[in-house]
Amino acid sequence: MEQTLVKFYQTGTFTVGNRLLAPEQRSLQSGAARSNSLNSGHRACQGCGEALGARYAIDAAMAATNGQLIAANATGCLEVFSTPYPETSWQMPWIHSLFGNTAAVATGIAAAMKAKGRSEVRVVAQGGDGGTTDIGFGCLSGMFERNDDVLYICYDNEAYMNTGVQRSSATPPAARTATTMPVGPNPGNEFGQGKNVPQIAMAHEIPYVATATVADLRDLEYKVTKAMSMHGARYIHIFVPCPLGWGAASHDTIKLSRLAVESGVFPVFEAERGEVTGVLKIRRQVPVEEYLKPQRRFAHLFGKKPDVATLARLQARADRNIRRFGLLGE
C-alpha cells in the first residue's frame, strides 16, 4: 500500500493551516499571532493582490527577524494606499522613498545599522514593477552589484496601476493598458519588449533570487524566510494580480495567480548565485486561454473572432517557460 506517498487533504501542503496539523506544520499566516504588518483600514481596492502579497511577505520577514525589520518603500500603489498622511497601516518602521531610489535608501539604512553596530536589525526594500523594473532599475542594479545586505521585494502587477494603468517594462505582450490600446494591426502591448528582472538579478550572481505568487502561500513564506536567513543582496519577485488594472473580478485574485503558474505564464523558481536551484512544478496544467479569458485586458483576443495567432504566440511563450525551467513532471 502506498499510503506513505499519499497526502491526506488535511495534512497536505495546500491550505493555509488545518486543525489536524501540528502548529509547526502550519503556515505563518494561519497563526492568530501573525504580525499583520500591513493592517486593516488600508485603501487598496477590493481583492488587491499587492496588499495580500505584501502582508504575506513582510509578516514572514518579521517572523524571521523577531520583528527587527525596517522597510523602505518606493512610490506606488502600495505606498499610496497604506499611508495617506497622517495614517499608516504599517505596524513596523517604514519609510517612503522616491519612486526610483528605494534600493539606494535601503542600502543607506543597512549601512547606518552597520555603523551603529545594530547587526540584528535587517532591511527590506519594496516596490511595484514600475518602481523596480523601470524607474528604480539603476539603483537596484547598483544594490545588487555592491551586494548590499538588503532583501528587495518587487510586487509585480504588470503596469503602473497607481497612475492609471500605463504600460511598464513588466507588462505582458498583447495586454491592454492606457498606453497600449487594443487598436491597429498588433493590438495591446508589443511582443519582444520588456524586461525579465528575476533573470537580470540572476545575471548579477547575487546570493538569492526567487519568484513567488499569492497563490502559493507556503512557497512564498519559505522563500522570504530563506532569504532572511542569508546576507547580501537578495531579490524576490512576487506575482500579484490587480483586479482594477487587469479588468478581473475581485474574487479571482488568487485564482488568476494559480492559473498563471499552472499555464506556465509565470514560472516560479529560486536561484542561488545565478543558478536555478528549485522550481515549483505544475500540478494541473491548463492552456493559457484559461488564464487570459477572465481578464478584460485580454478581451480583444477573444469574442466572435478570436485572435488565434496572438493566442498561439502567448501559448508559445508559456511553453518556452515550461521547457526552460522544467515545470512539468515530478
Binding site: F8, Y9, L52
Partner: protein
C-alpha cells in the same frame, strides 16, 4: 506655538484602523453550513460528514456517538447498507468516493469491542408505546422512542430479534454476533422485547396493554408465488423460507443443481447461499437483462465471482424432478420481456422462487380508517396510518425495501410519535441547500485513492459462511475518514483567515471557527472563492 513633533511632522501619527473600509462593501461574506450530498442521500438521515469530522481527528468514540444520534446500528450498516451515500459523494468526481461504509463498519466494530453504551434516555414521559415487529424499523423506532423518554415494548412474532436482518440476510453478509450486540445495546436502554408473540388484532393488543401509541413494522415475509406447472416429484421452494431455515439446526437440502428464479437482491443472496450449501451449480433465471435487474451491481459482481451463473431473458415454463424447461424472452420496445417460443432444458434438483414478498396484513383487518393499497399500508407525511395514533413503517409501507430505509422510517416515526404524544406535530428542521461539487474549490484537496477493503479469498468465501467484506484497521480507517472533503461545512483549514487582503477575518480558536470583521471587510469575495469546502457565501448588502 512650539512644535513638539519631529522635523517636518505637523500631525500625530494615526493608524489606518480609523478608516472603516467596510463601508465600501456591496456584498458581504457569511459563513454557512450546507448539506453534504452524503447526508442528503442517506435514507436513515445520518450526519455522515459530522461523524467523519470526529473520525478524522482519531476521536472514534465521538464519531460513533454522533452516528448513533440517528442510527443505532453502525456495525450492521457497515455490512449490509447499500451505501448510496458513496454514489452521491463529491469526492467521486475528484478521484473516487470516500469509503463511508467501511469507516462506519470500523466504528461499529470498535464500539462493540470497546463496549460503548448508548446515551441514557431523558426523563420519563409516562407514555407507553407498542412497537410491532423487532426488525430494523421497529428496533430503530424503539431506540429513538426510548431515548425520548417513552416506555417501549416491542412485540415480536419470531423467537429472535432482527427481522429480515436475521431471517433474510445470510450470515456471510451479517454475522449474528454483530446483530446480537447491537440489539442488546437497545435492550440495555430499557426497551422490552416480547418474543414468540403474534399480534392478531392491533386494537385489542393496544387496549390490553394500555398503550398510548403504536408503531407497526411487521415487514414483508410472505413469499410471492408464481404458477409453474410442476410434476409431483419436483422440488419448488421459496427463498424467504429457505433463508429463514438457515437460522435453524437443520439446513435446507437443495441438491447439487439449484435454480433460483428472480432478479432481486434476495435472488442473489439465495444463489450465493446455495453455493455455500454445496451446490455445484447455482443458476439464477431472470426474465430480463442485467440493465433491468433490480439487484445491486456489486452483489451481482460478487455472486458471479463466486461462480453463480445467471440465465438472462428466461422464464421457467415447467419444473420436473431433475430438470426444468425455460423459455427465452426478448425485450420489446418498452423494455418488457415477451416470449419467443424457444425452449431449453436445464438440469435442476430444486427450484427456489425469489419473486418478492407480500405483507401479512391480518393484524389490521377491520381497523377503522386504515387504508391498504397494492398490498401495503398507506401512511401520511407523519408516518401515521389512517387510524389516529397508529403509525407504520418499513417494508409494510410504500417505499424501497431495504434495511437503511427501514431504519430511517423508524427514526422518522419515533419523532412523529413523540410529537403526537405531546399533543403537537413534528416539524422537521428547514432543509439547507445541498453542497454540490461546484461549491467546492478542489485545488486544495490532493488526490488520494480509496482504501479497498480486504476481500476474503474467493475459494474460502464459496464454501463457508464467514463474512465476505472484511473491515478496515485503524490506520486505514483514519486514512479513509481523512479523504472526506467536508462538503459545505468548515473544517478549520484557515484559508479564509489567510487569504483576506484586509485582515478582516477573526480566528476564534480551535472548534470555534471564524468570524468576519465587517468594519474592514471590503466584500472582495476571495474568501468565498478560496474556501475549499463551500462554507462561505456572498449575500447582497441592504443599500
Amino acid at each position: 506655538m512650539k512644535m513638539q513633533k519631529p522635523f517636518a511632522i505637523t500631525l500625530d501619527v494615526g493608524s489606518s484602523l480609523a478608516n472603516h473600509t467596510g463601508s465600501w462593501r456591496t456584498e458581504r461574506p457569511v459563513y454557512l453550513s450546507r448539506k453534504p450530498p452524503c447526508n442528503h442521500q442517506c435514507p436513515a438521515g445520518e450526519n455522515i460528514q459530522g461523524w467523519l469530522f470526529h473520525a478524522e481527528s482519531g476521536n472514534y468514540q465521538e464519531a460513533w456517538r454522533t452516528l448513533v444520534e440517528d442510527n443505532p446500528f453502525p456495525a450492521i450498516m457497515g455490512r449490509v447498507c447499500y451505501h448510496t451515500c458513496e454514489g452521491a459523494c463529491n469526492r467521486g468526481q475528484l478521484d473516487s468516493a470516500v469509503g463511508i461504509n467501511s469507516v462506519e463498519h470500523f466504528l461499529g466494530d470498535e464500539a462493540i469491542k470497546q463496549a460503548w453504551q448508548l446515551p441514557k434516555p431523558v426523563a420519563s414521559s409516562g407514555k407507553k408505546v407498542m412497537v410491532v415487529g423487532a426488525g430494523p424499523s421497529g428496533l430503530s423506532a424503539a431506540y429513538h422512542l426510548a431515548r425520548l423518554g417513552h416506555a417501549v415494548t416491542v412485540i415480536e412474532a419470531g423467537p429472535l430479534p432482527g427481522g429480515m436482518m436475521r431471517f433474510g440476510i445470510p450470515q456471510y453478509r451479517l454475522p449474528r454476533q454483530v446483530l446480537d450486540a447491537e440489539v442488546q445495546r437497545i435492550v440495555d436502554l430499557g426497551v422490552r422485547i416480547e418474543y414468540n408473540t403474534k399480534v392478531s388484532n392491533v386494537l385489542e393488543s393496544k387496549l390490553a396493554g394500555g398503550y398510548d401509541a403504536v408503531f407497526l413494522a411487521v415487514g414483508a415475509h410472505i413469499a410471492k408465488r408464481a404458477y409453474i406447472p410442476a410434476g409431483d416429484s419436483a422440488k419448488v421452494l421459496d427463498a424467504v423460507s429457505v433463508l429463514r431455515s438457515m437460522e435453524g439446526e437443520d439446513k435446507p437440502l437443495l441438491g447439487r443443481r439449484v435454480v433460483v428464479y428472480g432478479g432481486g437482491n434476495t435472488a442473489i443472496d439465495m444463489a450465493r447461499t446455495a453455493k455455500r450449501l454445496g451446490a455445484t451449480e447455482s443458476i439464477i433465471v431472470y426474465r430480463r437483462n442485467r440493465d433491468k435487474m433490480p439487484a445491486h451491481d456489486f452483489e451481482v459482481e460478487e455472486a458471479l465471482q463466486e461462480g453463480v451463473m445467471i440465465k438472462w431473458l428466461s422464464t421457467i415454463k415447467q419444473a420436473g424432478e431433475s430438470s426444468i424447461t425455460v423459455e427465452k424472452m426478448a425485450l420489446d420496445d418498452k423494455g418488457f420481456p415477451q416470449p419467443t417460443g424457444e425452449f431449453e432444458t436445464l438440469e435442476a434438483d430444486s427450484v427456489v422462487l425469489a419473486l418478492g414478498q407480500d405483507v401479512d396484513l391480518s393484524l389490521i383487518e377491520g381497523v377503522p380508517g386504515m387504508a391498504v393499497q397494492d398490498g401495503v399500508v398507506q401512511v401520511n407525511g407523519h408516518m401515521m396510518t389512517g387510524h389516529d395514533g397508529i403509525f407504520a413503517g418499513g417494508d409494510m409501507v410504500p417505499a424501497e425495501r431495504n434495511v437503511t430505509v427501514a431504519i430511517g422510517h423508524g427514526k422518522k416515526a419515533a419523532r412523529n410519535i413523540d410529537a403526537w404524544l405531546r399533543g403537537s406535530a413534528y416539524v422537521p428542521a428547514p432543509k439547507s441547500e445541498v453542497a454540490g461539487f461546484d461549491t467546492l474549490n478542489t485545488w486544495y484537496y490532493s488526490d488520494a485513492p480509496k482504501t479497498v477493503r480486504p476481500m476474503l479469498d474467493i475459494i474460502r468465501r464459496q464454501s463457508t459462511f464467514e463474512e465476505v467484506q472484511g473491515g478496515l484497521d485503524e490506520s486505514n480507517a483514519l486514512f479513509e475518514a481523512r479523504r472526506c472533503l467536508s462538503c459545505g461545512n468548515c473544517f478549520e483549514c484557515d484559508n479564509c483567515y489567510g487569504v483576506c487582503p484586509d485582515n478582516a477575518v477573526i480566528k476564534l480558536g480551535p472548534g470555534k471557527g471564524f468570524e468576519f470583521n465587517y468594519d474592514y471587510c471590503k466584500g472582495c469575495g476571495i474568501c468565498v472563492s478560496e474556501c475549499p469546502c463551500g462554507s462561505i457565501k456572498m449575500v447582497p448588502e441592504d443599500i
